[in-house]
Amino acid sequence: MRVPSIPAADFLPLVPAIILLVGACVLLMTEVFLRSPSRGYQAPLSLFFTGLAGAVSLSSAFEPARPVFQGFAAQDPFSSAVTLVVCVALGLAVLTSSGFLRSRNAERGEFYALMLFAASGMSLLAMSTELITLFINIEVLSVGTYALTSYLRRGTRPAEAGFKYFILGAFSSAILLYGAALLYGATGSTKLSEMAVVLPAALAAQPALVYAGALLVAGGFAFKVAAVPFHMWTPDVYEGAPTPVTALMSAGVKAAAFAAMIRVFLVLGKGMDPSVPLALFSGLAYLTMIVGNLLALPQRNVKRMLAYSSIGHAGYLLVGVAALFVTAEAPAGDGFRFFGATPLLAPGLSEVAARADALKGLLFYLLAYTVTTVGSFGVLAALERSEDEPKGTAWDLDRFAGLAQRRPGWAFAMAVFMLSLGGVPPTVGFMGKLLIFRSAVDTGLVGLAVVGVLTSAAAIYYYLRVVVAMYMRPAPEDERIPVTLSWGTELALALSALAVVVLGILPGTVTDWLQQASTLWLGQ
């Protein structure tokens, strides 16, 4: 028997994930051994591990891409960037959690440990380059989030949310697995690097098998990123889950799932007619942008509104994904024609440069969406009162009425987040949309850009409704001032509002970095 030799250097890329795992174990142990009733140390402890993981991934961000563990995973700037986004989301979510949990008398180590476990899954998912590894990591992050969703066991809502998420998540995992099996059947390998080699031959022999497999895999990912028509779980689960968990799901899970999807389809796209993934993702993007934003319009429940908005934002991200597959020359044969014309790159733009641009846009958008959405869920978490939850009014728009007078800081932060979600300058949301739509226009996906801009304009309506409520409605007379006060929440809100504005005005450093990372990764 030949024993595979794995060099020690292969473990280096795993360090951020290992730190998160160790952190989770430490939290579990402190939970059972330190029996003091106060668990205020847990949030800082989690933050420490998160920060450490983030710092390590940042420090390795510019190492050249290389496969590790014989092609089962890869270390590259892309995975580092995604891990960093995950760590940002995790850190902000942990900060908002402590006050939220304490006010519900539910601060336990398991909560943070589960968050860290899930985050380690996200980080590993971003670097998986083999279908089984990828599937296992999806399960790691999913199981963590399933448990977190129904973490607050009392009441029917969390149970319902957890149950739905679990059932539908298992269903989608099965779909993904089925797709992976078909791909394996067609190519005889589960490693992306080997599949890329075999794919042209496999495609010639059994096109239906490959395409059906790709479709099913895409379906599995579409569930995780909440793309229409795989989005229906989103509002129910987002609403039922504890608000900091919702924040982590909408930012971290989305980032990791997008990363894995991009990784898989960049390889599949090389082997097959690139107009197939182009048509697939363009279609998903159209549906997701339109349906997500339309559904958000009539919502008066702000948490549900944010859930639908999260669907809409998945749509904008999908525009960026679609832009990755546009080629300089029309593909041979009839190909897939998309709404008449075959989209082509703008003249003078090389394929690698266009892809790097699109990827930079995607990564920046993920970061932008992360700081904004986690911030807005943070405000929501600070405002909601547990006694309102059974009545279903905990997140009603009326809870925001007159917030500007009662808590001007929160109201300002929320206004900043809403403007950023709506893509209004000078916020980071605007810069993100600008980069994405620009690369859509550069790649000839003008239809997507137009629909994107139109739906963004429509979305302003429901985002501004929150701002209007905060600044122009009087506060209810008998209303108590919201209770959840903690340094963590305040810090998280301040940090994310600052990030939203600063990155909106001075995106240069970050976009430069992402550009470098994207070029480094794609240019090889």
């Binding site: 028509p229 958000a296 319009l297 810069m431 240069g508 450093t509 976009t511 430069d512």
Partner: protein
């Protein structure tokens, strides 16, 4: 002499080290603004003024070092656009600000001789005015707010002059406009003052719009040039199309070095035997939205738009109307913003873009004529104004007109020279006026003052010195700077427009006489003669040391600044020699294209005598008229003919009313119609509410799909997948 030269040319801090610290010049006042604005209420009055003054004082110290360092022979900034080093320039590039596709803007500062001298003016005069304000504003409730704004203004003005690209300059440009608005309307509870602030802001915005369009045109122009330029264009050492493109990729087209390289490449003489034809100003643009226009033509348009922008900020025709109303703000603000610094931004802009301006004699002539007309009209209006600050405001407009004349005729150094001396004596005059108001129960009507000089000796003396300076009496600095302008104009002829020079020169001389007249009138009516019976306070009282101190310093400076005008170095005035490297690119363009013809010659004694005679003529006339013959005080009747002329000028030639009739009323009517029809009906009702209604209905209808039933959710997913797989099977398995 040699040792002195060496002393000045050896900076105590190495230039490259200092360049890294340039951000602190802006950062300190910004920090001061933050501290005063956020913690001001808690800090207390003394601490606020201390923090604010210390912040500007710190900037002043670093600026002094920077001023020293740009003289250092070792100082050189690398240019990204050509493999060149720009001598006598400190530069720091702090990386990307934003990049959209090919268009990139970096964060960066640069300090050359032009910036260095303005740095000293801004931080120096700014520091004095901060000190002065500590006492002047001591009774005001909004003390901390005032100092926060003032510090913010200084930071923004410094950004404006230190910016290394048009974009960052525009940040400063808008920033000073904002601070000006905030400070004019500082006493916002008074509706008229708040309105004056708004007027200033809106008038400025009209100009800013033109500025933006000009900047966009420049971007397009440089992009077109990049694609069209040939190797023959880059026939200067270190130049090549590749380095130019690389520079644009690294720092963007609105960087001043980019524009400088662009201007240089556009006039490069073809190399002998060069096979490829070079792009010249007469070449039509080959690609892009400006296709078929010539480079020179587009440049002229750009410059005229910049002129509109500059006339907004620098109060020139037709946008000067806001400046006199800006006197509603606190007097130190008028001194700092509306006399010494912000209003000179337009002059600075053209001096900074000197290498572009000299491409177009048409634009130059327009600038010069606009400046001359503004100078004359403002001087005439100033004749009959009775408000001490209004007279000074119109005088500022007039002096700025003089600077524009100089810029338009290509005598950039004289414009900057006058800018500096004007900053000293006009700040002194405004602060003196403030001191007079402070000591006379806020009386601003000079007819109700009189004889103040007896009680306020220091104020009167410094005001007198500054008046002599602005009048242009030998040997004060104003004489030298004004004469430098007039002499420079005399020597210059614009290509194709030979009539502009003499016209502007005559108008300028007329303005000099007028200036002498109204300034003397102002001084005489305020400080000499008998006290008016209608004065609010029976006796004036002299201001305290922190107010008088700055007055004395500024008065001394308005004398000492004459050094700049002496022919000390290489037979050139000090200022001209000093600014030589800055205007070198313009000289290069001029010598290549011949747009401006200059006859060099020393200023003869005759010229000096003529200028002096003009000043004495105006001043003497005023003394005679107001002291001996016609000492008008409130209540006394003037002859009917004189009264009619007076009324006409007193009412500022009815320009405000004319604008009201020509622009504001039609615009209001139009906007009312637009509001009713387009906004209220079409946009609000049909477009906004209609779309919102339709989309909300659709969204609500879609909501019925969202039943909450997990099986249904799974079914939708499954259906989608089945549909997809069915499509694949039909597509690939059917033969």
């Amino acid at each position: 002499m040699n040792t002195l030269q060496e002393f000045f040319q050896t900076s105590p801090v190495p230039p490259n080290t200092l360049a890294q610290g340039l951000w602190w010049i802006i950062g300190l006042p910004l920090l001061g603004a933050f501290v005063c604005g956020v913690f001001g209420k808690k800090l207390g009055r003394a601490n606020v003024s201390l923090v604010a003054s210390a912040a500007v004082g710190g900037s002043l110290l670093i600026s002094l070092l920077a001023f020293w360092a740009v003289n250092d022979v070792r100082t050189a900034a690398t240019s990204a656009y050509a493999a060149l080093r720009t001598p006598y320039t400190l530069a720091v590039d702090s990386g990307t600000w934003f990049a959209v596709g090919d268009f990139r803007v970096n964060f960066g500062l640069q300090v050359d001789h032009l910036t260095a001298i303005l740095l000293l003016v801004i931080t120096g005069v700014g520091f004095l005015i901060h000190v002065y304000s500590a006492e002047y504003m001591s009774h005001d409730d909004g003390y901390w707010r005032y100092f926060a704004y003032l510090n913010l203004f200084v930071a923004m003005m410094l950004t404006l002059v230190m910016a290394d690209s048009l974009v960052l300059l525009f940040v400063g440009w808008e920033g000073v406009g904002l601070c000006s608005y905030l400070l004019i309307g500082f006493w916002y509870s008074d509706a008229a003052k708040a309105w004056a602030g708004r007027k200033a802001f809106i008038t400025n915005r009209i100009g800013d719009f033109a500025f933006l369009i000009a900047a966009f045109l420049l971007v397009t122009l440089v992009a077109a040039f990049e694609s069209q330029a040939t190797r023959a264009n880059f026939g200067f050492p270190g130049g090549s199309p590749t380095t130019f493109s690389r520079g644009l990729d690294a720092q963007g087209p609105l960087h001043f070095e980019a524009l400088k390289t662009f201007s240089r490449a556009l006039v490069t003489n073809p190399t002998p035997g060069g096979a490829v034809a070079a792009v010249t100003p007469d070449t039509p643009i080959a690609t892009g939205p400006l296709k078929d226009f010539t480079y020179g033509g587009v440049l002229t348009a750009v410059l005229l738009l910049f002129l509109l922008g500059a006339s907004g900020k620098s109060a020139q025709l037709p946008l000067y109307v806001w400046l006199p109303d800006a006197m509603a703000g606190p007097t130190p603000v008028s001194a700092l913003i509306h006399a010494a610094t912000m209003v000179t931004a337009g002059v600075y802009l053209f001096c900074r873009l000197n290498f572009l301006l000299v491409f177009s004699p048409v634009a130059m002539g327009t600038v010069a004529v606009v400046g001359a007309l503004t100078a004359l009209i403002a001087a005439l209006i100033a004749f009959a104004q009775d408000d001490i600050k209004k007279v000074l405001a119109y005088s500022t407009v007039s002096q700025l007109g003089l600077m524009f004349m100089a810029v338009g005729m290509g005598v950039f150094w004289a414009a900057i020279f006058h800018l500096v001396t004007h900053a000293f004596f006009k700040a002194c005059l405004f602060l003196g006026a403030g001191s007079v108001m402070h000591g006379n129960a806020d009386e601003t009507d000079i007819k109700r003052l009189g004889g103040v000089g007896r009680e306020m000796k220091w104020t009167a003396a410094t005001f007198g010195v500054a008046t002599l300076a602005i009048t242009g009496v030998l040997p004060l600095s104003g004489f030298f700077s004004k004469d430098a302008i007039l002499h420079g104009i005399h020597q210059t002829e614009l290509f194709g427009l030979p009539w502009v020079g003499p016209l502007v020169l005559r108008l300028g001389q007329l303005v000099a006489v007028c200036t002498a007249f109204y300034m003397t009138r102002l001084f005489v009516l305020t400080f000499w003669g008998e006290r008016s019976p209608e004065a609010r306070a029976a006796r004036a009282h002299e201001s305290g040391a922190t107010m008088v101190g700055p007055l004395v310093v500024l008065a001394v400076l308005s004398v000492v600044a004459l050094v700049y005008g002496l022919n000390l170095i290489n037979g050139q005035p000090v200022m001209e020699n000093f600014l030589g490297p800055v205007f070198e690119p313009a000289r290069r363009v001029v010598s290549a294209l011949g747009t401006v013809r200059v006859e060099h010659g020393p200023i003869g004694v005759g010229g000096y005598a003529q200028a002096w005679a003009l000043a004495l003529l105006g001043a003497g006339a005023a003394c005679f008229l107001y002291l001996r013959f016609y000492p008008t005080r409130a209540g006394q009747q003037a002859p009917a003919a004189v009264a009619a002329v007076r009324r006409f000028t007193q009412n500022k030639f009815y320009v405000d009313e004319l604008y009201e009739l020509l622009f504001i009323k039609p615009l209001k009517a139009l906007s009312f119609v637009l509001y009713k029809v387009v906004d209220a009906l079409l946009i609000d009702t049909v477009a906004v509410r209609g779309t919102a209604w339709v989309t909300t209905r659709v969204g609500a209808a879609l909501r019925y799909v969202q039943t909450g039933n997990a099986q249904a959710y799974a079914a939708v997913m499954a259906l989608a997948l089945v549909g997809g797989v069915a499509y694949v099977i039909v597509r690939f398995l059917t033969p």
